[in-house]
């Protein structure tokens, strides 16, 4: 066996704060061998990126390496001077960042950026550098490198940009590449291609890759060895097969379980609690004091008839000079009583716009939305207030969907007070009950949103949505901003709501496995149009449209776990 190119030994990083010493990375050790991809996985804040930053000497002040050693090709690099570290950074260790939009300079062409980087590191003539840049572009499978060479980053799509970033990282023929969540900002369809490229390159150039991610699916597909981090510590270290088939730590188990299986439909999302302080969602209590949901007259709770929406792209005084962008084009769908209707599609396909039109947050340009037979788009304000009481929405980003300046109590009480559902003096009791039911303690009422984690905030959102006892719930990517391990909890809560309370749901997601588990019927959207509506099983086993087939083949799989 060859020696490791990079080895991290008992690395501890600490940040002095006014509340004492904070240790985001504790006693972390792992090795990278040539041509090997090592996955580093863990939830946000687990210290994955911090370890990477320590390796390349990019720790932000006042963070510092407290103890431990970092060896690169037999040379100790953790105590080098700033100049020496700069020589290693980019030259010996390449970086691929999460967001391809911000890691390229928008003012220079791709070619200029590549040539500059190559000349900086390799000391060659401009001509040689250009040849090498073209070869690199070709190597990362960018079609027509000669034409693309003179284009600016904005002329590239997200996936193409990430390929350019990979090419940039390869410029100096580094021995190690640190890829920090390289595919998180990309659509699923592009994610697979970029991962394949990284895999090929590692094999071919014998570069060692540290692949930092929070997605066990990515790990299973791409890596041979994996390090699982939890709370700043390594909890698992071994080959990917070994860790996936026989995980030792509860956190690893929960991570693996959290990857939804696309193949089979389960009743509940498996969930392992690795934190003993966790409290549970009390669906029975909630169901007890929930007034029975009335059935709609026709069996169809919501009917959407040919809605369209255009956004102004370029404003002008002269109407014919104005430019519009059609976000939603003639979409029709029905949602039955007690059904979970899934809406899938890539980002920008108009899913959220449809949800916002149903929720009256956006006016429709044409078409109608019928709720229990009544036309929502032409309602007077009194009827509209009644409609709004019966629908609620759960948003994607739990950090922006709660007002940071309001206490949790006022946030949950707002719909109760606005719709005058309860007399003022009974509201606070009801709020405490609701918080208790979604698994938060009563003490939560007096706190502000920033004191909670992402999953807890999403529970607060759910408590707010349930306050008016709605019949219809719109979930707009409710778990895509959460850690995978939390995702299962929230999805189970939503499932319970649908089963025990008979809620009807519109569930929007780009995550196909999740949709398969959650939904009864699924609609597929592409560029503002609804291309296919099917029962979930039919859609996943026998898709009719080419676009749906393409989406399905790109779905990440956990092959080892498909049993």
């Amino acid at each position: 066996m060859t020696d490791p190119i990079l080895s991290i030994r008992n690395l501890t990083v600490e940040i002095p704060t006014r509340h004492g010493l904070f240790t985001p990375v504790r006693d972390v050790s792992y090795d990278i061998y040539p041509g090997e991809i090592r996955g580093v996985v863990g939830e946000s804040g687990a210290g994955k990126s911090m370890t990477g930053n320590a390796v390349i000497g990019l720790l932000d002040d006042p963070a510092r390496i407290a103890s431990g050693e970092i060896w690169l090709k037999g040379r100790r690099i953790d105590h080098l001077s700033v100049q020496e570290q700069r020589a290693i950074r980019g030259r010996e260790i390449g970086m691929i960042f999460q967001d391809p939009l911000t890691s390229l300079n928008p003012l220079f062409t791709i070619g200029e950026q590549l040539v500059e980087t190559i000349q900086l590191h390799l000391n060659v003539s401009a001509k040689v550098a250009k040849e090498r840049a073209l070869a690199l572009l070709d190597r990362v499978s960018i079609p027509d490198p000669k034409v693309r060479f003179d284009q600016y980053p904005h002329q590239f799509s997200g996936g193409m940009r990430q390929r350019v970033v990979i090419a940039l990282a390869l410029c100096s023929e580094p021995s190690v590449i640190i890829a920090d969540e390289p595919t998180t900002a990309l659509d699923v369809s592009i994610q697979a291609q970029v991962l394949d490229l990284i895999k090929e390159l590692a094999c071919e150039t014998q570069v060692g890759v540290i692949l930092v991610t929070h997605d066990m699916g990515v790990i299973a597909d791409t890596t041979k060895k994996v390090t699982v981090m939890y709370n700043g510590q390594v909890v698992e270290n071994g080959t990917t097969d070994q860790v996936l088939s026989a995980p030792r730590h509860d956190y690893t188990k929960s991570l693996i379980l959290a990857v939804p299986r696309p193949q089979t439909k389960l009743r509940r999302f498996p969930q392992i609690s690795y934190d003993s302080r966790e409290t549970n969602f009390k669906i029975e209590d909630l169901a007890r004091d929930w007034t029975k949901v009335e059935k709609s007259k026709s069996g169809k709770l919501l009917e959407v008839q040919g809605i369209s929406k255009q956004f102004l792209e370029k404003s002008s005084l002269i109407p014919s000079w104005r430019k519009y962008f059609t976000a939603v084009n003639n979409v029709s769908l029905d949602i039955n009583d007690g059904e979970v209707f899934g809406l899938v599609g890539e980002s920008g396909s108009g899913k959220s716009t449809v949800a916002r039109m149903i929720g009256t947050l956006l006016d429709v340009d044409s078409g109608r939305v019928l709720f229990d037979g009544d036309d929502v788009t032409s309602m007077a304000s009194a009827e509209l207030a009644d409609y709004r009481r019966q629908i609620q929405m759960i948003f994607q980003d739990p950090f922006s969907s709660l007002n940071p300046r309001m206490k949790v109590e006022s946030i949950v009480a707002e719909p109760l007070l606005h719709h005058k559902i309860l007399p003022r003096d009974r509201v606070s009791v009801r709020v405490e009950e609701l918080l208790d039911r979604v698994g938060l303690t009563r003490a939560a009422a007096a706190k502000y949103p920033h004191e909670f984690s992402g999953g807890q905030r999403q529970r607060i959102s759910i408590a707010r949505a349930l306050a008016t006892q709605p019949r219809f719930l719109i979930c707009d990517e409710p778990t895509s901003a959460l850690d995978v391990s939390i995702q299962a909890q929230i999805l189970n809560i939503l499932k319970d709501l649908q089963e025990h309370l008979g809620l009807t749901m519109l569930f929007i997601s780009h995550d196909l496995p999740v949709v398969r588990q959650m939904c009864d019927r699924v609609g597929v959207m592409k560029q503002g149009q609804l291309v296919e509506v099917q029962g979930t099983e039919t859609l996943f086993t026998n898709p009719q449209q080419d676009y749906t087939k393409k989406l399905l083949t790109l779905m990440p799989r956990l092959a080892q776990l498909s049993g």
Binding site: R388, S401, E414, P415, A446, R464
Partner: protein
């Protein structure tokens, strides 16, 4: 930082405890500039509030004045009466220390009121422009742009001139203070409106505003209850810096003779009166009010500067 399930910890601390524990107070304690300037500002503000208790004489009570005391040097006994004055007296025998305390009262009152007026007007127009957008936004922001092309002192003088023209002569002196407040406030609202509009545009795109709209809250309820608390911190910073500028603007107007009347002298009026004696050797009549103005404006301004840096996460 793992803030998992933080709601299981101890109950919420009291308000005072929270202020003392806050990062802002922590940063404040560690900044000598902030501590010193806030001490100076507090001392000046308190002494002007309690001027009637501190001042040895009431400079606006003609019966207490003695013309024989005119032009007494600081800390020197008067040649005729033998009285000693801490900071000397002016031409009419008024104690300079007392006039400064009373003058600062007027300066601060005008400054605070003008900024308050500008803040309320700016927030109101900025919120409306940002939240509704469209032609209302264009109308408000274009008139703001037009006003910005004139120097604010010119705008203030214009307003002062118009107000003087339409108020009856016998009320002119009483009205002067209120006209000053109106003039300075109106010339100052633009920056507040711009900042609030920008912040409103950001906040209204966030999902908590969507959630409130989904509940069915009316636009004004959303603006006041949801957006306003989230746009206040930049306003607080600009308001502090504006306070210093408003005090100086008031002094400038009074110095030019279009501000506070001689019967109700502000610091600016005192400086105007004092400058005519500067070259005849009676330096104290000018210097002490001028230094007070400097200390007041500088300390408030430094406090505002520090607040801006402390609240800016990018500079941390």
């Amino acid at each position: 930082m793992n803030s998992h399930l933080s709601d299981t910890i101890e109950p919420t601390p009291s308000r005072l405890r929270r202020i003392l524990d806050s990062d802002l107070f922590y940063a404040f304690q560690r900044s000598p500039v902030a501590v010193v300037s806030s001490l100076v500002a507090t001392l000046l503000i308190l002494s002007s509030i309690f001027a009637p208790l501190i001042a040895p004489t009431n400079p606006f009570d003609p019966s207490s004045l003695n013309l024989m005391n005119g032009f007494t040097e600081p800390m020197t006994p008067n040649a005729f009466t033998g009285e000693v004055f801490l900071l000397g007296t002016d031409d009419q025998g008024r104690d300079v220390f007392s006039t400064i305390l009373y003058g600062m009262r007027i300066s601060l009152f005008v400054g605070f009121s003008a900024v308050l007026f500008a803040v309320i007007l700016g927030i109101f127009l900025g919120l409306i422009a940002g939240y509704f957008g469209g032609w209302i936004d264009s109308l408000i922001m274009r008139s703001a742009d037009v006003q910005l092309t004139f120097p604010s002192i010119l705008v203030a003088m214009l307003i002062f001139g118009i107000a003087k023209g339409i108020t009856p002569v016998e009320h002119r002196d009483q009205m002067a203070i209120w006209v000053l407040i109106l003039a300075i406030g109106l010339s100052d609202w633009v920056q507040f409106a711009r900042v609030v509009r920008g912040a409103t545009l950001v906040e209204k795109g966030k999902d908590y505003v969507s959630a409130a709209r989904l509940i069915g809250r009316r636009p004004y309820a959303i603006m006041l209850r949801h957006i306003l608390p989230n746009v206040l911190s930049p306003v607080l910073v600009i308001a502090t810096i504006s306070l210093a500028l408003a005090i100086i603007a008031e002094a400038t107007l009074s110095f030019l003779g279009v501000g506070a009347p001689a019967t109700q002298p502000s610091l600016g009026t005192l400086i105007r009166v004092g400058q005519s004696f500067l070259f005849s050797g009676e330096w104290w009549i000018l210097m002490f009010p001028a230094c007070t103005l400097l200390a007041l404006a500088l300390s408030v301004n430094m406090l505002g500067d520090w607040l801006r840096d402390a609240l800016n996460p990018r500079l941390k």
